[in-house]
Each structure stands twice: as C-alpha cells, then as structure tokens.
C-alpha cells in the first residue's frame, strides 16, 4: 500500500513540476494543484498507512489496529486551504486574461517589471 501511495505521489509531483515549468499560466496553476495533491498524499503516507480501524476511543480503550488520525486531520486541513487558494488563483488568472488578453508568463513578468504608470488612479487601462 505504501509503495503505491509513494509512487502515486512521486508521479503527481513530477507531472506537477512539469506543468509548473510551462509558459502558460493556466498550466502553471494546474501544476500547483497537482503538486499540492501529491504533497497531501505524501503527508498521509508519511504518517504511516496500514491500520484501517477508526481511532474511536471506546470503553475498552483505543482499538488495537487504530489508524493514526493526526495525518488525516493534517491533510484535511491542507485540502481545504489548498482548495481556497486554488480558487483564488483561478480568479486572478481570469482577471489577468481579461486585462492582458494573454496568460503567457513572460508577458506578465514584463508588465510587472515595466515602469509605473503615473499616479492618477484612473490611469490604469
């Protein structure tokens, strides 16, 4: 089980990094999502898979084969946060596309490094 999870995490991370290196911002954001998911799997796996019984405490104490709940809690938190950030990144992407008409990373860097517009707040096109 661990080996499958480890290979999956590695594969996802590889695809994620490959997408991150792309020029198209959409693929960059998708790359971050894949990387995030691979990391979630890695965190879950690092907390040791195997024991499958839910870690409910009964009157007899904790079941013998109780799974470790902490990595699951961690990953759950990370998934929620990751999802929020993904949505925000998509919103930024959409607005970038509307304003720039392009999602090429080079173009974006060029604009950010360009000279500042004069300060009239309406000067922004």
């Amino acid at each position: 089980m661990e080996i499958v999870a480890a290979i999956t995490a590695g594969l996802l991370a590889a695809i994620g990094v490959w997408l991150l290196l792309d020029r198209n911002l959409v693929r960059v954001v998708l790359g971050i999502v894949l990387l995030g998911n691979s990391i979630n799997i890695a965190v879950l796996t690092a907390g040791r898979l195997g024991n499958r019984t839910a870690a409910f405490v009964t009157s007899n104490g904790v079941p013998e084969l109780a799974a470790n709940p902490l990595p699951q809690a961690l990953v759950l938190t990370a998934i929620v946060i990751g999802f929020a950030l993904f949505v925000f990144a998509l919103a930024v992407l959409r607005r970038t596309w509307e304003l720039h008409g392009s999602t090429a990373t080079d173009r974006v860097t060029e604009v950010a490094e360009g000279p500042s517009p004069d300060l009239d707040e309406k000067a922004s096109r």
Binding site: L20, L25, V28, V29, I32, L35, G36, I39, A42, V43, L44, T45, A46, G47, R48, L70, P71, L74, T77, A78, I81, A84, L85, F88, A89, V92, L93, R95, T96, L99, H100, V108, T109, E110, V111, A112, E113, G114, P115, S116, P117, D118, L119, D120, E121, S124, R125
Partner: protein, 501 residues
C-alpha cells in the same frame, strides 16, 4: 495581574478576528468600519504591550488549547521575542490603517482593505505565538490568503501581473513547508516544536528528520526573501496599493525571519553547519539586495530591494549564534519593521505630491515640503545606520558580535552594505527632494485630507528616534529575549513540563 494569562495569549488572535467581524457588520458605513479598524489595530498594540509586560519578567507564557497536554494539543507560547513581535505588529497595523485613511479615494477598496488587513493580522500574530509546526503552516496560509487579496486590491494590469508572481511563488513555498511538516511528523512523530527540540537536545535525532527540516528552512528562506530565493519580492511588492505595500514591507518577510530564528535556535542552539550556511546566505543577501537597489529608478522598487538586503542583517545575527548576535538580530527586527514601513509611507506621500514614483519624474519636494524631507531623512539615515538613530545600534551590535566571533568577511560585507544603502538613499534624496520638478510649478499637486498619512509617518519616525535615543532599555529587552533564545531548555520545559499551566 488582573487579566488571566491564558486570555492574554489568545487575545492577539481574537482581537483582529473580532475587528474583522465588526468591520464586516459595518461594511455599509465606511466611517464606522474605518474607526473600528483603527481601534482594533490600536487594541492589538495594547495587547502586545501587555504581553511584553508579562513576558518581560522572564516567564514563558504557555497555554494548551482545549486542555490537551503539550505534544498532542495545540500550544500557544509567548516568550519575549513573540511578545515584541506582536507589539510591533500592532504598531505597524495602527500606522497603516491610519495612513490608509488619507489614501482612501475609493470607499469599496478602503472597506476591503480594513477587512483583509485584520485577516492578515490574525495570521501574522498566530505565526508569532504558535508552538507547533503544523499550526505555523496554517497561520502562514491565513496570512497568505489575506495578502493575496490585499496585493490584488483594486487591480489594474500591472498590479495583477505582480499578483500573479506573488501568488505562484508563495504557493510553491507554502507547499514545500507543508511537505516538510508532514515528513517531520512521519519521522519524528511530533509536530510540537518544543518536543522536537527536546529530541534534538537529547541527541536522539530521529532518522530522516534532517532532510525535511532543511526543506522547511528553505521554505522559510523563500518567505523571508533570502538570497537566492528573493526574486518574488522586488517583482511584486511595488505594484500594490501604497498602504498595502507598506504593511507587507514591514511585516511579511519578518514572519519568515521569525520562523527561521525560532526553528534554528530551538533545534540547533550551538553553532554548526546550519549556521555556517546561513552566514554565507546572509552575506550574499545583504550584498545582492543592495546592489539590486542601485539599479532601480522607482522609489518603491529601490525600497523593496532594500528589504532583501536588510533581511540579510537579521539572518547574520542568527547565523553568528552568540547571545550578543541574537540580541542584535532581535533589535534589528524591531527597528527594521518600523523604519521600512515608514519609508514606504513617505515614498507614497512623495509620489502623490509629485504625481509619479519614478525618480526622473519627481522633484522639488525639499522646497515644497521641508517637513517631509526631514521625515524622510530620519528613517533613511536610520536604515543606513547613522548614529544616533535606531539602525546604528542594530548594526553596531551585529558588527561587534561579528568581530567577537571572528567573522571578518561578514563584518566587512555588513559595513559595505551600509555604505551602499546610504548611497541609494541619497539617490532618492537628490532626485525626489533636491532636484527641481521636471515640469516646474506645473508638477506640484495640491492634495487634501492628507493629515492621517502625515501623522502615521511622523509617529513611526518618532519611534525610530525614540529607539535610537532610548537604545538602552530596548537593547536590554533584546538581550533578554536573546538569552531565552540561546537557552532553549527554558522554552522546552515551559511547554512540555507544566501542562495546562
């Protein structure tokens, strides 16, 4: 002794959160929202001062959330360093909210600014007082979400482009941090920093824990904008709304520096390989940052590169690892947050008065606003380390600590960086203040309602002078904080030894 320490410990989280909710409820009434926001920020400062009063006596305040004992529950810890950081966060928040009132041309943007700023403050304060690696990750995310929306606020083309850079690079850093936290848990079986430190101190380092910790240090380095992973900072900070970039410049990289200081002093209290690497990274950061600034011609871009070079000084203090050097690093943190936010404020006022933030298109400010010139001179000279301002003492302590440990090259680079800093500050001075405005009298703009911005800048300038003149008590506090950092045993026993205290 009236308020319970436990209540005081959660106050830095609850207060900004409460302010956020209050702002949300009054979002229809802009004045009420701004007033509440200012009140909340000032309250945070007061809470910070109360924490300083508690922690200043040398106790480490610990609270276990929900009553679960240390390695299992969520621990909040405040020692002197954390208390000082919370206080300074409150100071900067108050100044920024005050400053934003003068730039408030768009009520919708102003409202969002107040909401998001307090959201950001929850994350920043949380990062300063947590005692647990995974919670540190969560607080980083909280502040990240706030900062993403803040930097994009009122986004035009250029701002959005900067946002893209900021969002993507910070997301990658945070993912690295999450991976590192997960792997640390996998190999050490704990996420509590004190318990990790206890394992390290006892000499039974869990196998395989070093690599994720190095990854974690790398993630913090990205957050702190250390060489060679600082590229995102000068590419994005200058595009934000002025109050936002001042807030970021003051606080955000310092959260990364704080995390580095906390982790390194806890896990590797004695000088070793980690410190050796940090020393060279610090030297490169100081030099490259200041050289990058020399090539820029926009006020906020120059200042952004200076953030990078200044972070190098703090990490230098951490790398030298003697109590004196750590005290220097703490002093530098306090001084730098005030000075840097103030420089962004004054840059913003200057840009609005001259109609541009490109140096060639600015000018004539000395003749028009001599008080602004004086207010610029104070933080600028302090940043460069001219006595008797706060920056001089910070640099003086670091240089002395460097000489004591024989780090000659680092001392040389620190002094050289000071000279270069002075040069680029005089560049801003010559171009924006002394030179006549290129458009002549037509270039001057009259602005109304700028008083809050001036008060914010003047207040921070007064603090800079105050820290410079009253350096003794501040230095004593920084030394005491460094003493706590240099002996992690107190921290460990405070967190692990007395559960639910």
């Amino acid at each position: 002794m009236t308020p319970s320490p436990h209540l005081l410990l959660v106050a830095p989280l609850l207060l900004p959160l409460g302010t956020l909710i209050a702002c949300l409820l009054t979002r229809g009434n802009h004045r009420a929202c701004a007033g509440l926001s200012l009140l909340g920020a000032a309250g945070l400062m007061a809470v910070g001062l109360a924490l300083v009063a508690y922690a200043g006596r040398g106790d480490i305040l610990v609270s276990q959330m929900g009553g679960w004992a240390a390695p299992y529950g969520i621990t909040l810890v405040v020692d002197r360093l954390s208390a000082a950081m919370v206080t300074i966060t409150g100071v900067i928040a108050t100044a920024t909210v005050l400053y934003s009132l003068a730039h408030d041309t768009d009520p919708a943007r102003g409202r969002d600014f107040h909401l998001l700023t307090h959201g950001l403050l929850v994350g920043v304060c949380g990062a300063f007082i947590t005692g647990d690696v995974f919670n540190l990750y969560v607080w980083f995310e909280v502040l990240l979400v706030g900062s993403f929306a803040l930097i994009a606020l009122g986004g035009d083309r250029r701002r959005l482009a900067g946002t893209v850079v900021y969002v993507i690079l910070n997301l990658i850093a945070t993912l690295m941090f999450l991976l590192a936290a997960g792997l640390v848990y996998g190999s050490a079986g704990t996420l509590n920093m004190a318990e990790l430190a206890a394992l390290f101190a006892a000499g039974d380092t869990p196998p395989g824990v070093q690599a994720p910790l190095v990854l974690m240090l790398l993630a913090f380095s990205i957050k702190a904008a250390l060489f060679p992973v600082f590229g995102w900072l000068p590419a994005s900070y200058h595009v934000a709304w002025t109050p936002v970039s001042a807030l970021f410049a003051g606080l955000l990289t310092k959260v990364g520096v704080y995390a580095l200081i906390r982790l390194v002093t806890l896990l590797w209290p004695d000088a070793g390989l980690v410190h050796e690497v940090l020393l060279w990274v610090a030297c490169a950061t100081m030099l490259i940052g200041v050289l990058g600034a020399a090539a820029q011609t926009e006020v906020r871009r120059i200042l952004s590169f200076h953030i990078v070079s200044q972070v190098g000084y703090m990490v230098l203090g951490l790398a030298l690892a003697t109590p004196l050097a750590l005290a220097g690093a703490v002093f530098y943190l306090i001084h730098h947050i005030v000075v840097k936010a103030n420089l962004f404020f004054i840059g913003g006022i200057a840009a609005r008065m001259t109609g541009s933030e490109r140096l060639p298109a600015m000018g004539g400010l000395y003749a028009r606003a001599p008080w602004l010139a004086l207010m610029f001179a104070i933080p600028a000279l302090s940043l460069a380390g001219i006595p008797p301002l706060s920056g001089f003492w910070a640099k003086f302590v670091l240089v002395r600590a460097g000489l004591e440990t024989g780090a000659w090259i680092a001392v040389g680079i620190a002094l050289l960086t000071g000279i270069f800093t002075l040069l680029s500050m005089s560049k801003i001075w010559n171009e924006a203040f002394l030179k006549a405005h290129p458009l002549g009298a037509a270039g001057s703009r009259t602005l109304t309602g700028q008083a809050p911005a001036w008060w914010a800048a003047a207040g921070l300038a007064a603090i800079t002078v105050g820290i410079g003149i009253g350096a003794g008590p501040v230095m004593d506090f920084a030394s005491a904080a460094a003493e706590q950092l240099a002996h992690p045993a107190h921290y460990i026993s405070a967190v692990l030894g007395a559960p639910g205290r």
